[in-house]
Amino acid sequence: MELKVKTYAEYMAQGEVPEILFWVGCAGSFDDRAKKVTKAVAKILQAAQVKFAVLGTEESCTGDPAKRAGNEFLFQMQAMQNIMVLNGYEVKKIVTACPHCFNTLKNEYPQLGGNYEVVHHSQLIESLLKEGRLTVSGGSFKGKKITFHDPCYLGRANDVYEAPREVLAKLDAELVEMKRCRTKGLCCGAGGAQMFKEAEPGNKEVNIERSEEALATSANIIAVGCPFCSTMMTDGVKHAEKEAEVSVLDIAEMIAHAADL
C-alpha cells in the first residue's frame, strides 16, 4: 500500500479540513522502532479512509518528559507553542500512538487554552473496527498467544484498559494476562523521564522484572501501546535471550499486518 501523508498546512492550502490530527510524537518521529509504528498507524487511517493530517515540522515535544522531571517552565513553553499551532489550525480531534502525548494533550493542555478531543490509537482503531470502516481477520496471528502490557499513562493515568484488549481480540489469538495487569499493571520502567536517564542504584532493572513477568505467560507476542514500553520490553526480552521466540509488537503494527496493509 502506498502511503500518502499530508500535513495540516497542505490540507489548508487546498482549502480542505482534515477529520483528525495524527500527533506523531518525538519517539514516533525519530526512533527507528517507533517510526514503524507511526507508519502502521498512518496505513490504518488511510485504509479506513480517515482524512488525517500530521503537523510535520510544526510539531514539537508536548513537554511531558520535562513536566514529569519537574521542569514546569520548559513544559509550559512547549505547551503554549504547540497550542498556538493547534489553535491556529482550529484542530478539533487528535489521535496519538504515545500514551504520554495522549495524557498531556488531553489533561494538561486544556487549562493552558488547548481544548481538543484526544484519543489513543487503540481507541480510534477500536471504533474504526466497530463502525466497520476497518476489517481484519486473524491472519498470521491466528492461534498465537498474546499478552498485553498496560502503559501506565493509558491505564492507571486515564482508566483506558479495554480498548487495546478489544482490538487484540479481533486477531483470533489467545489473549493471556500477566499476573499484574490493568489497575495493577507494572510499569516498564521508562515513565517519569526515566527513559532519558540511568536508573538509580538498585538490585534489578524494572524492565527486566516486567519482561520476566510477560515471558512467564509463555506468550509468543508481547503487545504494547507505547513507544517507551516497546523499547523497554524489547530490551528485557533480549536480556532473557528470548528474542527469537517472542516478539514485542505495537497493536497498530499487529492490526496493519493482519489487515494486509
Partner: protein, 443 residues
C-alpha cells in the same frame, strides 16, 4: 445515708466524669494542633463536586472497597473495623453508666433487643480477636515483606504491634467482664440481673466459677474501669500513631483528587511568566506574594499533601506495588509519607516552642528527610496512588520536590539536563533536527 456516705457513693461517678473530661479534653487539644499543622500547607480547592465526594467516601472509606483488592487482609480488616465501630456503641453505655452510676442503663429500655445487641458485641469482639491474631502472625511470624521492610524500623514497628496488643487487652477485658457479670447474676447478686446468654463470654464462665462474690465484683468492676480508661488512653495515643487513620480516613477520602491520575497540576505562577515571555505586552495578573517553584519544606506542599501524611496507615501497599521499590531502589512511597509527617510534626513543635511562629531550624523536608536519589527513582507510574486504600497521593509530593530540585536548585541529574537542553533547542528530548520530523513517511 449521711453526707459522707453520699459522697463516698458518688465518688466513682465524679472520678469517672473527671477522667472522661480530661481524656476528651487532651484529645481535642492535640487534634487542634494537628489541624493547625495541616493548615500550614498551601491552598488547594478540593470542595467541588460534593455529590461525587460523598460517594467516594462511602465506597472507599466506609465500604473499604480498596482494601478488598487483597481479600485476606481485606476481610480481616473488616472484622477489626466493624468490630471497633460496633463495640463503640457499648462504650456509650459505659459512659452513661459511669457518669450516673447506673448499671447497664440501656437494658431496661431495649428489652430483649439488648440481649441481641450484647450478643452481637460479643461476636464482633471475638472476630476482632481473630483478626488481630492473624495480623500479628502476618507481621511477626509469616513476615510479609511490606511489614518487615527497613522503613518501618524503630517506632513504626513498635507502634503496629502495640496497637494489636492494646486491642487484645481491650477485647479480653470486655469479654471477661461479661463472664464475671454472668456468674454474679446466676448467683442472684445485687444489681447483677441476668441478660440471657452471652455467646462468647458464656464459654468463659468456667474460669470464674470458683471465685467468691466479692472477688467477682472486684474483677468485674476492675475490668469495667480498665476498659474505659484503656479506651481513653487509646484515643490519646492516636495522634502519635499510624492508627490515627481510623479518624482521618474519612475526611481524607472525601477530599480525594477527582481528576484523572495522569493530570499533574499546571503551576499558575509559571503560566504567568511563560505568557510574558511569549508576548511581553500580554495582560497578565500579578502574582500575590513571592513565588516559589515546587516544595522544599512541608509548608510548600498543599494542605492535602499534609492531610495525606497524617492519614497514612503505614500499610505499605503503595511500596509493594512500586516498581522502584520492588527493584531495590531507595524510594519507598510509604516512607515519603512517613517522612512528611515526621517533618510536619517537627515543624509543629518548633511553632509551639516559638510562640506561634516557625523559626528556621536549618532543616527542610527535601534533603534532610527525603533525598534526591529517592525522588529520581520514581517512574510517575501512579501504582502507589492506585494501591492506597485511603486515597493518598505520594506521587504529588515527589513531583513537587522534583520541581524544587530542578527549578530552584538547578540540580537535575546530568542526563536530564541534557534532555531539557534538547527539548529547548530541537523540540525533542533527543538530539535530532526538527527539520527531520517527517522523514519517516518516505523511509
Amino acid at each position: 445515708m449521711n453526707s459522707t456516705g453520699l459522697l463516698l457513693s458518688i465518688l466513682p461517678n465524679v472520678v469517672f466524669t473527671l477522667l472522661l473530661l480530661a481524656g476528651i479534653g487532651l484529645f481535642a487539644f492535640n487534634l487542634r494542633k494537628i489541624i493547625r499543622n495541616i493548615r500550614l500547607g498551601r491552598d488547594l480547592n478540593r470542595s467541588d463536586n460534593p455529590g461525587e465526594r460523598w460517594k467516594i467516601m462511602t465506597l472507599v472509606a466506609l465500604g473499604q472497597t480498596k482494601m478488598m483488592v487483597r481479600p485476606i487482609a481485606g476481610i480481616l480488616h473488616i472484622f477489626v473495623y466493624v468490630g471497633f465501630v460496633v463495640i463503640n456503641i457499648e462504650v456509650l453505655e459505659i459512659i452513661i453508666d459511669g457518669v450516673f452510676g447506673t448499671h447497664r442503663v440501656f437494658a431496661p429500655f431495649l428489652g430483649s433487643f439488648y440481649k441481641v445487641l450484647i450478643a452481637t458485641f460479643e461476636v464482633f469482639a471475638a472476630l476482632v480477636l481473630i483478626g488481630v491474631f492473624a495480623f500479628y502472625v502476618r507481621r511477626n511470624i509469616i513476615k510479609i515483606k511490606r511489614f518487615v521492610q527497613k522503613d518501618l524500623d524503630g517506632f513504626p514497628r513498635f507502634d503496629a504491634n502495640m496497637i494489636l496488643f492494646v486491642e487484645v487487652l481491650l477485647m479480653s477485658a470486655f469479654l471477661t467482664m461479661n463472664a464475671a457479670d454472668q456468674v454474679l447474676s446466676s448467683r442472684g447478686a445485687d444489681h447483677y440481673i441476668s441478660y440471657g446468654n452471652y455467646p462468647v463470654s458464656g464459654l468463659l464462665t468456667g474460669l470464674f466459677s470458683g471465685w467468691s462474690d466479692g472477688a467477682l465484683i472486684v474483677y468485674e468492676r476492675f475490668m469495667w474501669w480498665f476498659h474505659i480508661i484503656g479506651i481513653l488512653a487509646f484515643l490519646n495515643y492516636l495522634p502519635y500513631s499510624k492508627h490515627f487513620h481510623i479518624l482521618m480516613a474519612f475526611p481524607n477520602v472525601w477530599y480525594s483528587n477527582l481528576n484523572p491520575k495522569g493530570q499533574f497540576k499546571n503551576m499558575d505562577a509559571v503560566t504567568r511568566e511563560v505568557k510574558l515571555m511569549l508576548d511581553p505586552s500580554a495582560p497578565v495578573p500579578e502574582a500575590d506574594g513571592p513565588v516559589k517553584f515546587g516544595a522544599r519544606d512541608v509548608q510548600d506542599l498543599s494542605w492535602k499533601n499534609l492531610m495525606d501524611a497524617y492519614t497514612c496507615t503505614e500499610c505499605g501497599r503503595c511500596s509493594s506495588e512500586c516498581p522502584a521499590n520492588m527493584t531495590g531502589k531507595l524510594l519507598s512511597p510509604r516512607s515519603i509519607m512517613m517522612k512528611t509527617r515526621d517533618r510536619l510534626e517537627e515543624v509543629g513543635k518548633n511553632i509551639d516552642a516559638n510562640k506561634g511562629t516557625f523559626v528556621d531550624d536549618g532543616k527542610s523536608l527535601l534533603h534532610n528527610y527525603i533525598s534526591a536519589e529517592e525522588l529520581w527513582a520514581c517512574t510517575t507510574c501512579n501504582a502507589c496512588v492506585q494501591a492506597c486504600p485511603v486515597n493518598i497521593d505520594p506521587l504529588d509530593i515527589i513531583v513537587n520536590l522534583r520541581q524544587q530540585l530542578v527549578m530552584e536548585e538547578s540540580a537535575p541529574p546530568a542526563s536530564l539536563a541534557t534532555m531539557f537542553g534538547n527539548i529547548e533547542n530541537n523540540g525533542a528530548p533527543w538530539q535530532f533536527s526538527p527539520a527531520d520530523r517527517l522523514n519517516w513517511k518516505d523511509e
